[in-house]
Subunit: 358 residues, 2 copies
């Protein structure tokens, strides 16, 4: 691999990063999040030796007790002597650009353990979806050498689904107040979950929710599925895997399947946490034995390349001097009817593509 | 504006679209959602005469009763003789690619009114955020001539925040079971809401939630805000509006402010719906009088141009023959450590930019 020369301050930062200094990790994260000069070169250098942490994603509606559960699991992983990074990803405020503090406060009791690194991040989306930098920060966690990276998202929506695609194992946490399993289906949770957890399961409605979820999962498995469950993040079509028929179709080899468990926990008392750990462990083994882990890593790598290329194309396009002027002048014309977004876009694309993008 | 020649079948479709045939609208939406050949030319032609519907966005957690409230408002708008389009946007299932049925079922009683058009859409995101086509479908609704376009999103997350940025007035619907106002803040709802509604307000906890929300809103207004509330979708910095200080800072003109009301409804009985209608009306008047409506349309136009340009750049990049090969071959190398996503991206960008993108 070619050697890229880093800016001196970034080279120094890289050396401290490789030496395992947490302060250097924090600085590297800021470098990437803020897309400061040389940040991509830094990432290239940091990723030269591939390392893969065991990544677990946690999602579910606000108030489900995700932070409490993540804290409990973090303690359990520490007891196994794993170094753990915990990343709390909050939806970007369209205005403040910063992560909200709520969950950080609850993790304070873990903050003094040197084997745990906690970071809150905004998704800081561009006008569209998950920022590439959020995924790159997770790559930094891998590169730094954590055994475990736990990613917690607030809320349930398209971006959260994507973030959980960055994990190997996705845990979806619901509470009896979440409403019924239909709501879980509506939010697309059935398709991303590797493990369901009904937290606060000492509350009324817990057993019913567990039953509803198990029924809903059972019904899904009986359907003709285009994709095997738990392949989130892997575009099977793009990888040449043929569409599968029903799960009873013996003629086509569909590979092993993962049966999604529905667990019950009372996070603040620790009840059910051991079972959750075991389920995570079993899923890990499944991913390794089935070859899915490798597939998932390749899909993630391909996705990252696409993200980086697209980011650079956008930068080149919008930095182009002529284009900036064309856009600014044309916008009022769209509202008044002198042109449409399509005719203006066409002009801009001509400037970029016909004359070369330099 | 230049005349673009449409494919014959699209020209025929456009004529029926302009004649107000709902079947043609449905077909036009499919054309756009599926990005079928000529879809951008169709949009250009449809948007040649700008029309602007009154757009209201509805968001909130699953189970808040959004569909019921939207149905109630729809009936009220019909009573005023407005033609109404109702768009229910569901998070994309990473697998099925289609919208989920739940909410469509509940709107069946409205389905026979020819003055109402109902459509469910998946956000059908590319690997990243809100699909441009979702926003383009809303543009089609405007072009078709509806007086009102009601956009309902399922779930609360980054994508939902964006969808609501496509609306003029955003209504955030919570229920006592939603948890407290802190959760609303965590989900970024405080910054996108123009109107808060506590639905199912006959249930215990409703009054408390209303109080908490009003307090949280009051506290926010007392802070030094960088942006005036309710400017969602408008990047004030980009438009040259200076950062404002505290709301008590008389030295800087901050323009008029909208005081976000917190209303109570019991949607299935109709209680509170009239007050909601009045609040929507008042917000509309505020937008017009303050000039925000025009600002918002210009920002939306600029955003659309960016979306269209970026979509085409991506298409050109990934259709490029050499690039496809480079990506496919390089991915295994990333996992094995022969290169990083950055070195591979760099190779691809050289192919695209150095030799021209043709």
């Amino acid at each position: 691999m070619s050697t890229i020369e880093l800016k001196p301050e970034n080279q120094a930062l890289l050396e401290r990063f490789r030496a395992g200094k947490k302060v250097a990790l924090a600085r590297a994260i800021s470098l990437v999040e803020d897309e400061r000069p040389g940040f991509q070169d830094f990432l290239h250098a940091a990723l030269e030796t591939p390392r893969f942490s065991k990544r677990i994603g946690f999602t579910g509606p606000p108030g489900a007790g995700k932070s409490t559960l993540v804290s409990a699991l973090t303690r359990a992983f520490r007891d196994q002597d794993d170094e753990v990074a915990v990343v709390a990803v909050d939806p970007t405020s369209p205005y403040s650009g910063g992560a909200l503090l709520g969950d950080r406060i609850r993790m304070n009791d873990l903050a003094t353990d040197p084997g745990i690194f906690i970071r809150s991040m905004a998704t800081r989306g561009s006008l569209g979806g998950l920022a590439t930098t959020t995924k790159e920060v997770l790559d930094l966690m891998d590169a730094f050498g954590f055994q475990r990276v736990l990613v917690e998202t607030v809320g349930v929506g398209q971006t959260e689904l994507e973030i959980t695609g960055a994990a190997d194992t996705v845990v979806v946490i619901l509470v009896p107040e979440s409403g019924d399993a239909i709501q879980a289906m509506k939010a697309g949770l059935m398709e991303i979950a590797d493990i369901f957890v009904v937290n606060k399961s000492d509350r009324p409605g817990a057993d019913r929710l567990v039953k509803d979820l198990r029924l809903a999962l059972h019904l899904r498995e009986g359907e003709a599925l285009k994709d095997v469950p738990a392949h989130h993040g892997v575009d099977l079509k793009r990888m040449g895997v043929p569409e599968s028929g029903t799960s009873q179709d013996e003629g086509q080899s569909k590979g092993p399947e993962w049966e999604i468990p529905v667990l019950q926990t009372v996070a603040h008392s620790g009840e059910g946490v051991q079972e959750l750990l075991e389920a995570v462990s079993r899923h890990r083994a499944f991913l390794e034995e089935s070859g899915l882990l490798l597939e998932r890593r390749e899909a993630r790598a391909a996705g990252r390349v696409r993200d980086v290329v697209e980011r650079e194309l956008r930068r080149v396009a919008w930095d182009h001097a002529g284009v900036k002027g064309t856009l600014a002048e044309g916008v009022a014309g769209i509202v008044s009817g002198a042109e449409t977004p399509y005719s203006l876009a066409s002009s801009i694309l001509s400037e970029l593509l016909d004359s070369g993008t330099k």
